[in-house]
Amino acid sequence: MDWYKDMAEENFQPKIVAFVCRWCTYTGADLAGMSRLQYPPNTKVIMLPCSGRIDINFVLRAFMQGADGVLVSGCHPGDCHYNEGNYRARRRWTLLRDLLDTLGFDLRRLKLAWISAAEGNKWAQTVTDFTKEITELGPYTELHELCDCVESPLAPEAAIAAKMAFTEAKPAEDALLKTVQQAFSEEKVAKVLGWRSRPTLKRTSPDWFESAEELKDLAAPPAGVNVVRLCDEPVLANEPKLGVIARPRELASLNVLTQEHALNPEQVTVFELDADGKYLRTGTLRELSGEVAQKFPEGQVVGHSAETMQKLAEFMQKPRAERFAFWKEVSQHCLHCYACRQACPICHCKKCYVDKNQPQWFPTAADGMGNFSWLIVRAFHLAGRCIGCGACQTACPADIPLNMLNATLAKSALDNFSYQAGVNPEVPPLQADFSQKDQETFII
C-alpha cells in the first residue's frame, strides 16, 4: 500500500473526481468542450441526474480510493431541473463540511460549485483553478496514509478498565413503580421499556417488562446511557400499548423516532422522569412530547452538554493538522464492535447499510481507513437526529470521544438551520427539509 508515495514525485498529477448533475454542470462542461476552452486533464467526471443524488459516501469513497480532490457541482439554487434537489444537497454539504472540519479534514480538497448549462467558462475556470490548488497542496498523503495503520492498538488499559467498572443497580423509585404497576393492572400498557437490574452481573440493562410481577427487577436509570434501543427490536410502529420510562434524553429520542414513523405517539405511554431520574408524570407520548428543549439545562443543545460544547469549541481552536492527528490517534483503537450503534437510541434500521456489501459502502476492516470512515459515516448518519445522550460514547470500549462529533453536527444544525433534534416531532427531519435561505458561503 505505498502507491500514494509515488505520487509525491516531482511531476505530481493530482487525481480529481467531479460529481456533477446532468442538467446543468454536465451540460456546462459539454459547452466548455464545444467552445474549445482548454483545461487540465486531471478531473474526471461522474454524471448523476441531480446534485440531490450525490451521496456523501461517494465523496468519501473517492478520497479513500486515492483522489486528491473532489469537485461537486450542480445547478444554481432555483434552477434545479427537479425543483429542489440542489437545495437539499446544499444542506447536506453544509453538515458534512462542518463534520469534516472537526475531524481535521483538509476542506480545500472538497470544492463545491454551482455551474449552469450556460457556464462553460465557469466550468473550465473552476477545473483549472482547482487543479492548480490541488497541485500546490500536493497528494493527500495524510489521508491516504491511514491505509497503513494495519495494526490497530487497543485503547489504554486504564480507559478500558474504567469502562468495565461494575456499578450496583439502584432499585426504582416507589412512585414510579406504583404508577407502572397500576398501568399494567389497568391494562393501559402491555409492555414497558425500562431498566432491569441484573444482580449477578452487578449492572442494569434496558429491557421490556411484560407484566406487573416482573417489575420487582425494575431499576433506577443509570447515567450516560439511554433506555431506547430499537435496532434489534421488531418494528414497533403498529404495536399498541407500549410504555417507556423516559428521562428528557429518552423523550427527545422518542420524538426523533416519532418523526421517523418508528413509533405511534398515540400508542406509547410515557412514564416521565426528570433528568435525575425522579418520577414526574404519566401520559401518552403525544401529550408529553412538547417542550423537550426546556427540560435540558440551559446552554445545552438538547442533550449535548455545555461541557462537550465547550470542549468542542476549544478543540476547534487547534490547527487542522493537529485535529486530524488527534482523530487518527483515537480512531485507531476502534474495534468495529459497533457497540456505539447498538447503544444508539436513534438507530432503528433493521439492516444497517454498513453491513451491506452490494455495494460495499466502505471498508469494514478495523484498520485506519475503516475506522476513520466509520467515524464519519456514523456521525453523519445521525446528523440532525442525534439528541446527544452520549450513550454511544459510554458504550465505546475504545473510549473514542464520539460525543464531540455528534456535538459538531448538533451545533452545525443549530447554527445553520436553527434545528434541534428531538424537540419537535411534528416537523420533517433536518435532511428531509430545506430553506431557500440556507447559507452557502462555501459554494462558488
Binding site: V17, G33, L48, G52, R88, A89, V235, A237, P359, Q360
Partner: protein, 663 residues
C-alpha cells in the same frame, strides 16, 4: 459474465486528432469483461452502427460502451442501435471523449491517458448495469378542466373539438368567470358578453363536455394518465334536472337584500338566485346562509311557486371521484379589494371602487344599466379619476409584480367614460403606461389624443373624502414631485391582480408549485409555459400570473394541444431510470424501515406507503415508489438513512464501480 464491446469513435478528426483512439481501444481490451474493442472513424454513421450491430451478434455482447461525443448528443442513437441488435438499450453507455476530453485538451499523451481512464470507468459502470424496460402507463383519455372562465371554456371547447372527453368543473353556478363581468373588451371595444355567451352555450351543449357546476376539487390522487380527482358538489337545494330555469322563484323570494357578487356588491340579489341573466346553465341555487327556510325553517315560498317541483331543501353535499388522464388548472385570479388601501379614503369610501366594479357600472346589464353614476348617491359622474398601479409594483406595501392588464383596462375605462359622458373629465394617475400588444398602444394613444383623457405621470399619496366627493393628493413625478390636488366624483383604483385565495391549498394537494406571490408556476417560463412540474397537470390563463383575454385564450388552446398530444398515444412510455425501494428475502422483505424521510424529500409526491406482511401475520409499512410520478432525480436515494432505495440507471453499485475505474 459480462461480455462487453467497446467502440472508440474518431469522430473524423474531432476525437482522433488529440486522442490516440487505436491505443484506447487496445487498452480497453484488457479491462475486465471486455471481449471486443475497436476504433472507427464515424461510429454514428450507418456503417458505424452496422459494425456495432454485427459485433453484438458475432461476439454475443451483453453490454456496449461507446467512446464518442457527449451522451447528450448520441446516447439515444446508440441505444437504438443496440436495441436493433436485440440488446437492451440500457446496457449501452457512452464515454464522453469529445466534449469533455479531446476538445478541451491539446496534449495528445495526456488526452489519451484521460480517455483510457474514462473508458475504464464506463466499462466498470456498465458491468453493473441491468437491463431496464420502459415503463408503460395506460392513459385515461378524459381531461378535467378546473375553472369555467374564458380559459376553461376555450380549453374545454378545443379539447372536445379534438375528440377528448372533458369534465369542466366550476365552483359557482354559472360559466363565464371574470370575462362575463366585463363591459367591453380592449382594444376593439366589442361587448364582452356578446363574444363570450355563445361560447358558454357551446360548452354547455357539447356532448363531450360534462359540466360539474357548483363543484370544487377536493383532492387529487394518481399521476399522469391516471388521476383520481375527488370532487365536492355543494348542495344547490334545487334539482337542476327538474328546474326549467323560468326564474319565478327568484322573483318571489322575500330575502332580497343580499349583495350580488356578480355585480361586485353594487346590486342586490335574492337568496334563491341565478347569478346573472345570461348565466349558463340558467338554473338557480339557494344560498344556505341567507335562505329563511334553511336558516329559520320558516318560508318555503320558492317551493310553493315552483311548478316543476324542483326545490329540494333536503339536498346534501355530494363527494365523488372522477378518473382523468390530465388536469388543466384554469382557476383565474382575483383583484385586490379597496380595503387594502387605508391611505385611500380609509379604503372604504362608497365612491372609491375597483376596476372590476367600474366594469359593472359601465356594463349595459349592470346595476346602473350602463350609465356612469356613482354608488353613494346615484349622481351622474362628471369628473372621474383613475389610479393605476394600486398595489402593483409596490413591493413595500403590496406586490412587486406588474399586474399587466391594468394599463389597458384603465385606458378602456377612460375611453368608455368619455364616450358616455361627453362633457366629463377623466384623469389617469399613472406610474408608467405599459401597452405592448397588437393594437394596444394605438388604443392608448387614441384615449389621449382622440378622447381627451388626461394622463398624469404621478403617484397618489392620499385620497381624502370630501362628503361624497374625493380629493386626490397627487405628486407629479415629471415635475419634480409637484403636489397637485384633484377633486373627483368617483375614483377607480386599478388594484393589483392577485391569485385566487385558496389556489395554493389546491396546488399542495396536487403537488404543483406556486411562487412567493401565490401564482402557480410553470415548468419553464419560456419553453414550457403551460406545463407544471407535475406531469399531466397544465396551466391555462391567469392562474399562473395576470393575463389579458388574448393571452389567456392562446394559453387555453396551447394546453388543449398539449393534452391532445398526450392523448394521441395509446399508452405512456416513460424512461425507466426511476427510484425503486429494495426488496430482499424474508423475514425482512425490504431493508426499508419506513421512516418516510423519502416522502418529505420527494418533490413529486411519488413516495407511497405499502404494507408488508410477514409469515407470522405481523405487518409493517415501507415506502414504495409510484412509477408514474417518479421523475428520477434520486434525492430520496441519497437521503435514505438505511440505503433502501435505488435509482435504476444510477445505482450505488454503478457509481461505485465508475469511481473504481477512475481512481
Amino acid at each position: 459474465m459480462s461480455r462487453i464491446g467497446v467502440f472508440i469513435c474518431h469522430c473524423g478528426e474531432n476525437i482522433g486528432k488529440t486522442v490516440d483512439c487505436a491505443r484506447v481501444a487496445e487498452e480497453a481490451k484488457s479491462f475486465p469483461g471486455v471481449v471486443f474493442a475497436r476504433d472507427n472513424t464515424y461510429t454514428c454513421s450507418e456503417p458505424g452502427q452496422a459494425i456495432i450491430r454485427e459485433a453484438i451478434k458475432e461476439h454475443g455482447l451483453t453490454a456496449v460502451v461507446i467512446g464518442s461525443c457527449s451522451p447528450r448528443m448520441h446516447e439515444s442513437t446508440f441505444r437504438r442501435t443496440c436495441a436493433q441488435a436485440g440488446l437492451n438499450p440500457y446496457m449501452c453507455e457512452i464515454a464522453n471523449l469529445r466534449e469533455q476530453c479531446s476538445w478541451v485538451h491539446s496534449n495528445r499523451e495526456e488526452a489519451t491517458a484521460k480517455a483510457i481512464e474514462i473508458v475504464r470507468s464506463v466499462v466498470a459502470r456498465v458491468r453493473n448495469n441491468t437491463p431496464l424496460d420502459p415503463i408503460r402507463v395506460p392513459i385515461t383519455k378524459k381531461v378535467m378542466v378546473v375553472g369555467g372562465g374564458i380559459a376553461g371554456i376555450q380549453c374545454a371547447l378545443d379539447l372536445a373539438e379534438g375528440g377528448a372527453e372533458v369534465v369542466l368543473v366550476e365552483r359557482t353556478s354559472s360559466l363565464g368567470g371574470h370575462m362575463s363581468q366585463l363591459s367591453e373588451t380592449f382594444p376593439t371595444l366589442d361587448c364582452s358578453q356578446c363574444i363570450l355567451t355563445p361560447r358558454m352555450v357551446d360548452a354547455a351543449s357539447n356532448p363531450r363536455i360534462k359540466l360539474e357546476m357548483y363543484t370544487e376539487v377536493e383532492k387529487v390522487d394518481g399521476y399522469i394518465g391516471n388521476f383520481q380527482v375527488t370532487l365536492h358538489r355543494k348542495a344547490r337545494y334545487v334539482d337542476w334536472n327538474k328546474c326549467t330555469g323560468c326564474g319565478a322563484c327568484t322573483q318571489k323570494c322575500p330575502q332580497k337584500k343580499i349583495p350580488s357578487s356578480f355585480d361586485e356588491g353594487m346590486s342586490m340579489r335574492t337568496a334563491i338566485s341565478i347569478p346573472f341573466p345570461q348565466a349558463v346553465p340558467s338554473k338557480p341555487t339557494i344560498d344556505k346562509d341567507y335562505c329563511m327556510k334553511l336558516t329559520t325553517g320558516k318560508c318555503g315560498v320558492c317551493s310553493k311557486i315552483c311548478k316543476a317541483g324542483a326545490i329540494d331543501y333536503e339536498q346534501k353535499d355530494e363527494h365523488f371521484t372522477v378518473d382523468v388522464g390530465a388536469i388543466v388548472m384554469a382557476t383565474g385570479f382575483q383583484v385586490m379589494d379597496t380595503d387594502k388601501f387605508p391611505y385611500y379614503a380609509g379604503g372604504s369610501h362608497p365612491n372609491l371602487i375597483t376596476g372590476l366594479q367600474f366594469e359593472r357600472i359601465a356594463s349595459a346589464s349592470g346595476p346602473t344599466s350602463g350609465e356612469i353614476k356613482r354608488p353613494s348617491d346615484g349622481k351622474p359622474v362628471k369628473t372621474i379619476a383613475f389610479v393605476q398601479c394600486a398595489g402593483s409594483r409596490d413591493k413595500a406595501n403590496h406586490v412587486a409584480y406588474c399586474s399587466k392588464i391594468c394599463c389597458m383596462y384603465t385606458a378602456k375605462h377612460a375611453t368608455l367614460f368619455k364616450h358616455k359622458v361627453h362633457d366629463g373629465n377623466a384623469w389617469v394617475m399613472c406610474m408608467d403606461v405599459r401597452t405592448p400588444g397588437k393594437g394596444y398602444d394605438e388604443f392608448y394613444r387614441r384615449t389621449i389624443e382622440h378622447d381627451g383623457v388626461h394622463y398624469i405621470r404621478s403617484r397618489v399619496s392620499r385620497i381624502i373624502p370630501d362628503g361624497d366627493d374625493l380629493i386626490l393628493m397627487v405628486a407629479d413625478t415629471l415635475d419634480g414631485g409637484k403636489q397637485l390636488q384633484i377633486k373627483a366624483d368617483m375614483v377607480v383604483l386599478a388594484t393589483a391582480a392577485v391569485p385566487q385565495p385558496d389556489v395554493q391549498k389546491m396546488a399542495q394537494t396536487m403537488g404543483i408549485a406556486y411562487d412567493g406571490d401565490g401564482w402557480l408556476t410553470e415548468v419553464h417560463p419560456k419553453l414550457r409555459p403551460v406545463e407544471t412540474a407535475t406531469a399531466g397537470i397544465f396551466l391555462a390563463g391567469a392562474c399562473s400570473g395576470p393575463k389579458d383575454i388574448p393571452d389567456t385564450v392562446s394559453q387555453a388552446s396551447a394546453v388543449a394541444a398539449k393534452v391532445l398530444g398526450l392523448f394521441a398515444h395509446p399508452e405512456l412510455q416513460r424512461e425507466p431510470t426511476i427510484a425503486r425501494v429494495n426488496r430482499c428475502a424474508p423475514p425482512l422483505q425490504s431493508s426499508c424501515v419506513g421512516c418516510f424521510t423519502c416522502e418529505s424529500v420527494c418533490p413529486y409526491k411519488a413516495i407511497e406507503r405499502e404494507t408488508l406482511r410477514a409469515r407470522d401475520g405481523s405487518t409493517r409499512q415501507v415506502a414504495k415508489v409510484n412509477a408514474g410520478l417518479c421523475q428520477g432525480c434520486g434525492t430520496c436515494v441519497a437521503t435514505c438513512p438505511s440505503k433502501s432505495i435505488e435509482l435504476d440507471g444510477y445505482t450505488d453499485k454503478q457509481i461505485f464501480a465508475a469511481l473504481n475505474g477512475l481512481v
